[in-house]
């Protein structure tokens, strides 16, 4: 039983980190209907910039501030330079644009900081802690705590303030949003800035866990099943989806893996997402498209 709990909690903690990455997608999707494929490379760019600055002798917080600033500039540049010109284009156009942007960012990161793998040490110990017979990693706890705080702050921001309502309005009908005096540019700016910030935090936590390398941008693809399960347009959905993915992949790995072979956790979330697509295509919390025929 203790072992089951250990696996479950370990999975949930990893799940919170998936949620955090997924929220970056949800924000942009909600505000502009774009599935921002570049989110992964933004995470990579953030982690790489941060770690390179550390290696060049910056102190932790000054490296953090400098990276944050560069993420904000990057996010601003993507929004202003690419997506703003594509307003009202079909979703596939926007998607292809972000795909292109993601390659540019990865190339840029490589150009600036080189292609070697970096280790990232955040100064948080990774040692097992025991809670009532259950062993948990202190780093996992810290990462999950950070992600949870970020997730909570963001959901408050978007549920309590008029930014939240404006965000939904902008996503629904930009022209109508303009006519009631919503500042489109401001909203898009806020959303991209927040997405940049989320990428930074995700990049540090994932980078510390896996090492800062180019496959980091692929880890972010795990957000895809999270979003399919939780729903693309719901922050709550991203949280719950992340927890489901985290917990189920670890449990499947441990309990089903021995029966059908290892490596289960790499593809299990996608199978789960596929099942959701068949049964509940809008996800658990997504807004179902309303069409009058």
């Amino acid at each position: 039983m203790d072992f089951f709990l250990e696996v479950l909690i370990g999975g949930l903690l990893a799940g919170v980190m998936y949620s955090m990455v997924a929220i970056g997608f949800v924000l942009i999707f909600k505000a502009s209907g774009v599935f921002n494929f570049a989110q992964g490379s933004m995470v990579l760019f953030a982690a790489l910039t941060f770690v390179s600055l550390l290696e060049r002798g910056f102190a932790f917080w000054s490296a953090f501030a400098a990276t944050l600033a560069s993420m904000l500039v990057l996010a601003w540049a993507i929004e202003r330079g690419v997506l703003r010109h594509l307003v009202n284009r079909p979703p596939i156009t926007l998607f292809m644009a972000t795909l292109g942007v993601s390659f540019i960012i990865e190339g840029l990161a490589q150009l600036l900081w080189g292609a070697q793998v970096h280790g990232l040490e955040l100064g948080i110990k990774d040692e097992p802690l025991e809670f009532g017979g259950v062993l948990l990693s202190s780093f996992d706890l810290f990462a999950a705590g950070t992600a949870a705080a970020l997730v909570l702050a963001l959901s408050l921001l978007f549920s309590r303030t008029r930014i939240g309502l404006s965000l939904r309005a902008v996503a629904d009908d930009p022209l109508a949003a303009l006519s009631v005096g919503i500042r489109l540019q401001r909203i898009w700016g806020v959303v991209w800035a927040v997405a940049g910030f989320v990428s930074l935090v995700a990049g540090l936590l994932w980078g510390a866990r896996l090492g800062v390398q180019f496959s980091l941008s692929l880890v972010v693809l795990k957000a895809l099943p999270v979003l399919i399960i939780g729903g693309f347009s719901s922050i709550g959905g991203a949280i719950v989806g992340g927890l489901i993915v985290g917990a189920s992949e670890k449990l499947a790995e441990v309990y089903v893996g021995p029966l059908i072979g290892d490596g289960l956790e790499n593809w299990f979330p996608y199978v789960l997402a596929l099942l959701f697509l068949l049964v509940r295509p809008a996800g658990l919390f997504g807004e179902r498209a309303i069409e009058r025929v």
């Binding site: 702050a153 408050l156 921001l157 309590r160 303030t161 008029r162 930014i163 309502l165 404006s166 939904r168 309005a169 629904d172 009908d173 022209l175 109508a176 949003a177 303009l178 006519s179 009631v180 005096g181 919503i182 500042r183 807004e287 309303i290 069409e291 009058r292």
Partner: protein, 267 residues
């Protein structure tokens, strides 16, 4: 909604809105050519004309969606060269669209609350913390929105996602959202398009009530001449992007140019 909150507009005052020599073209195609007219404060002014006459384009110029190549719009005594929809909204111009532009996934109430966007005072930081003042303010906006829903008889649909409502009611929700901004000038682009007779009657009554109770100046585009002649104080007729008549409904109705534009001329 109490009428006291909106003092009746002074009658026959200086024009609230003056359109002066507006010309607008899209890549060489002229949408409107040298159009001028004035809308007095407190009146209902209708823009009519055959399809493609440039009515919607003109409305889009007034609210800053399009920028004319020539001419200017004087609103409330101030001529602005560079109007944007947001600036127009800030100065008290609210509008509805020809093809209902609502936030379809959101409830009726949320749509109307979005219309109060410019009246929100509390900053986002205070809203996140849920401070007393911010909460009280939010309650105030909600009350106001409820009053508007009651005024337009759509309280029953408060929590329904707008996309699920029939077209006639969507038009009414859009009007509610525009009213939520407490506008001085209301621009309505074909508020009665696609409606049956009964719905048109209801909508006409609402427009007259808004005009009378709140003193809101209304500029509307409408194809149903019967309705136009009934509710308007002032009618402007456009044809092929030019103004062909401007005056009281009775004058306009007997104008030979208008008759020619509508029924075709004999010569």
């Amino acid at each position: 909604m109490s009428a006291a909150a909106y003092p009746p507009a002074p009658v026959a005052a200086a024009p609230l809105l003056a359109v002066e020599g507006i010309s607008l073209s899209f890549g060489g195609v002229k949408a409107v050519t040298d159009i001028s007219f004035a809308v007095r404060s407190g009146e209902i002014c209708s823009l009519i004309g055959p399809n493609g006459a440039g009515k919607s384009s003109l409305l889009n110029v007034i609210n800053g969606v399009y920028r004319p190549q020539q001419g200017r719009v004087v609103y409330d005594g101030v001529a602005s060269m560079r109007i944007t929809p947001r600036r127009a909204a800030r100065r008290g111009i609210a509008r509805t669209f020809q093809n209902v532009a609502l936030f379809k996934g959101m409830s009726v109430l949320d749509n109307v609350l979005a219309g109060r966007n410019l009246h929100v005072r509390a900053g986002w930081f205070r809203q996140v913390l849920g401070l007393r003042a911010a909460r009280d303010e939010a309650d105030g906006h909600r009350r106001k929105a409820e009053e508007i829903l009651a005024f337009l008889h759509i309280q029953a649909y408060r929590d329904t996602p707008v996309g699920k409502l029939p077209y006639g009611l969507q038009k009414r929700v859009e009007l509610a959202r525009a009213l939520a901004a407490e506008p001085r000038l209301l621009l309505l682009d074909e508020p009665m398009a696609g409606m049956n007779l009964e719905e048109k009657m209801d909508m006409s009554c609402f427009i007259l009530d808004i005009n009378r109770d709140f003193g809101t100046t209304v500029v509307l585009i409408e194809h149903d001449l019967g309705v136009v002649m009934d509710i308007s104080d002032h009618v402007v007729v456009l044809d092929y992007g030019r103004k062909i008549a401007d005056g009281a409904p009775a004058e306009v109705r007997d104008n030979p140019d208008v008759i020619a534009a509508y029924i075709g001329s004999a010569h």
